[in-house]
Symmetry: C2
């Protein structure tokens, strides 16, 4: 028995299909039972033959019935089965947003907004126009668009003193993707990561998840204490030599050479995470460690997050000649949209990239200088600032004896988003008291003074409530 309604928005053939399917699942039509002949059904319900045939063919395609030529349609043997209850799935992974702060000193943001730039819009338009001309759009280059890799190679030569062939460059879908990919490329015998302490927590996490042994190497005012690297133990040293994250030191030439010697001596590798080298405010960008390497042990990680926008999700790896992709094995397909890759290439090639970097550097230099002089003026030597000279963040050492949690809560309850440095330490007992991280990359320049006053209010309050050294 079918209940068909020709006025329903559901086509009649789908009504037939659905009802017969339900009957088969419910066992109301049993295995090997013959369905009504299509002609009979047409007559009974005043339907066209095609309507019935469409319904039967759909049921046959899905395996509910089979047709026997000249004999009709029969119900297939279907294992007993009860449908899942239709319910909205539980919201088991809630969308956690960080609370909004009136004054948010979050790290990672970048002003000005790339999407406001006429240059980026032009680059995007050109990219769409170019892609539009293609007959076929495949995902052909797992290592990334050749034209983008060429543009990066030129830029690295001009700005980082690196002589690199485009074939050494792999475009990836962000920093973690770079590290995950690297783990496939590095010899599987090398299983130890010598990590800056404090250092970039997400990078550590990516190695830790992959089963690497993580050995912290302390950072002092000159970056990683390279003399603490155990000679002869093969491993990978992870460094941010141009601007130590998070403490801001520049690794001096002597330590750089020591590091290279160490890697050469133990047949190890060095990962140079060059996340914001272009953001120096007093001097020229520090030449890359990669450019000093004679032995092919430095792997260079670059990114557009601190020059274009963090939400583009485009990073890249420069492999030394000693390492290379096994095309079949390591990278099956590119993780980066061709449109975005091509837009970045156009943006670089049209000259907008250089202009933007100069603009960002000037903007950030002003903010940087303003913040430094603000603290000097109000607190003199009482607040120590780590990271003067570059980047988009500082670590402030406040003259208070409070644990991280307490300290953060105190600021945050006053609407000030400041950030912990505890995540960057592997050895939690090494975390210094009274330190907070403040990012200024995204704070609108015209509001900086307002932000600083708000921050100062809470610091002064903190001093009054006690906890001061």
């Amino acid at each position: 028995m079918l209940k068909l309604n020709k006025n329903d928005k559901e086509p009649v053939y789908l009504q037939i299909y659905r009802q017969l399917k339900e009957q088969i699942i419910a066992g109301e039509l049993s295995t090997d039972e013959r369905l009504p002949a299509t002609r009979a059904l047409c007559q009974e319900y005043h339907l066209s033959r095609n309507t019935v045939l469409n319904a039967y063919q759909q049921l046959e395609s899905e395996g509910f019935i089979r047709s026997k030529i000249g004999s009709g349609y029969y119900v297939e043997a279907i294992p007993e089965y009860s449908r899942p209850e239709t319910k909205t799935a539980p919201f088991f992974f809630p969308h956690e947003t960080d609370p909004a702060y009136a004054y948010d000193f979050r790290y990672g943001a970048l002003e000005p907004n790339l999407y406001k730039s006429a240059g980026f819009r032009k680059a995007l338009r050109e990219a769409v126009n170019e892609l539009q001309k293609k007959d076929n759009l495949y995902n052909e280059e797992p290592s990334g668009l050749l034209s983008l890799r060429q543009a990066i190679a030129v830029s690295l030569l001009e700005t980082r003193d690196m002589h690199v062939s485009p074939s050494q460059i792999l475009i990836t879908g962000g920093h973690h993707y770079s590290i995950s990919l690297l783990q496939k490329i590095l010899p599987s015998s090398v299983r130890t990561l010598f990590m800056e302490e404090p250092g970039h927590d997400d990078s550590v996490a990516t190695f830790y998840q992959a089963g690497y042994e993580i050995v912290p190497i302390r950072v002092d005012d000159n970056g990683m204490m390279t003399d603490k690297l155990p000679a002869g133990k093969t491993g990978i040293a992870y460094v941010t030599p141009s601007h130590q994250f998070p403490l801001g030191a520049i690794l001096p030439i002597a330590r750089r050479l020591q590091l290279l010697k160490w890697a050469d001596g133990c047949s190890g590798y060095i990962i140079e995470d060059d996340y914001d080298a272009h953001l120096r405010y007093k001097e020229q960008p520090i030449p890359s460690l990669y450019s000093l390497d004679r032995n092919g042990c430095v792997i260079y990680l670059g990114s557009f997050s601190k020059s274009l926008s963090p939400d583009l999700r485009i990073s890249y790896i420069v492999l030394p000649a000693s390492l290379h992709l096994s095309k079949d094995k390591d990278l099956i397909s590119s993780p980066a949209s061709t449109l975005i890759q091509l837009s970045i290439e156009r943006y670089i090639s049209l000259g907008f990239y250089k202009t933007r970097i100069a603009k960002i550097r000037n903007l950030l230099r002003k903010k940087h200088n303003r913040i430094v002089s603000f603290f000097h003026e109000h607190y003199g030597e009482r607040i120590r600032i780590f990271g003067i000279g570059g980047g988009t963040h500082f670590v402030l050492s406040l003259p208070v004896r409070m644990k991280q949690d307490e300290l953060l809560s105190f600021f945050r309850s006053e609407g000030i988003g400041v950030w912990p440095i505890e995540p960057y330490y592997l050895q939690k007992d090494e975390v210094p008291e009274g330190c907070i991280l403040i990012g200024y990359g995204g704070i609108p320049s015209e509001k900086l003074d307002e932000y600083l006053d708000a921050l100062k209010n809470v610091i002064d309050k903190l001093n009054r409530v006690g906890g001061t050294n």
Copy 2:
């Protein structure tokens, strides 16, 4: 001694910096040697004080010299070091392009070109405008843009009968990214993949690289032979139930239920790779396996490669309620550009997505029907076509006794790009003779007849040179 040229395009302070640096590296200035006083240098070369200070400060920042207040600048102890020879890096990973064929039946392409669509341009414009309004662009949602996940949830309900919360959806940077991520989410105790034989080679590779045991399960005319799954052995079954890749079968309801029962019995999982379910030409899309699952064992893999464009590199995972991301551990940052995610969301929400799918389906249906009737007309039963009814490719079984390599070379030497099926087999002795894969998704409709005639010429030639059954 310095050689300074004020007319050089290199600023004088950089000339000083560079020359002193070379002298220190070369040992011409020795450790603890005092550099000329800045005033003396100014007088000698008629320079401004700032020029010299800039050079000295850069050297100090990089650790070549140190300053002593009131006393001047001294050379630091630098380990002995010889510069790397500057040479262009070898092109060690050459850019391999597949040779171009006059008639290329490559799988994976899609007509019409998304970038020609006014709808996509509008969606892209809206996305740029929306991003432009943001004060700060972070990369905040590792699981993907909430609005896109919402749009996908709605679309899955409408088209795949799936009741899914956006929180179950993870946006990824393509199919392999999905699988790599899944490997982190699946319990590490489950280490066996039961794979369709033949099946999707890149998916196998991704599991194989991660150390999974791969067990082939044969595919017949009805897809995976689910009765061959070993009862009680926990594992992951990888299936393409809507359209078996590459042979094209639809997994019948009885096997679907058997598969679910198997997974339930062994506490295993099923990966439903739903890569082109929307491309059915006779019947409605086959309901998803996910929609039948009562026990939360089906993981659904979706993609925009066969509906928008393969080069967007956006795929997604739908997790069953039994599995979920550990936010700290599994996915640190999104691999997908916000601009692309937002453009796709806009494209869906503005209604263009549905229109495009209908358009693609009609275009492909015509090509599909033309190809099938062409072969029937010319070869009748002599050429068997696998995969009639859906998708963007066929497997042709030609009446020849030739190995894959020979067969492909024969076609390719005549300018016809046809593709092997051998990569899809784990057991190479199972590869049937005389089979080739042809894709038609990207062949321009108006040129299809020309392509088919060219293909026919070579098939006929093949028959003449022998090798025929």
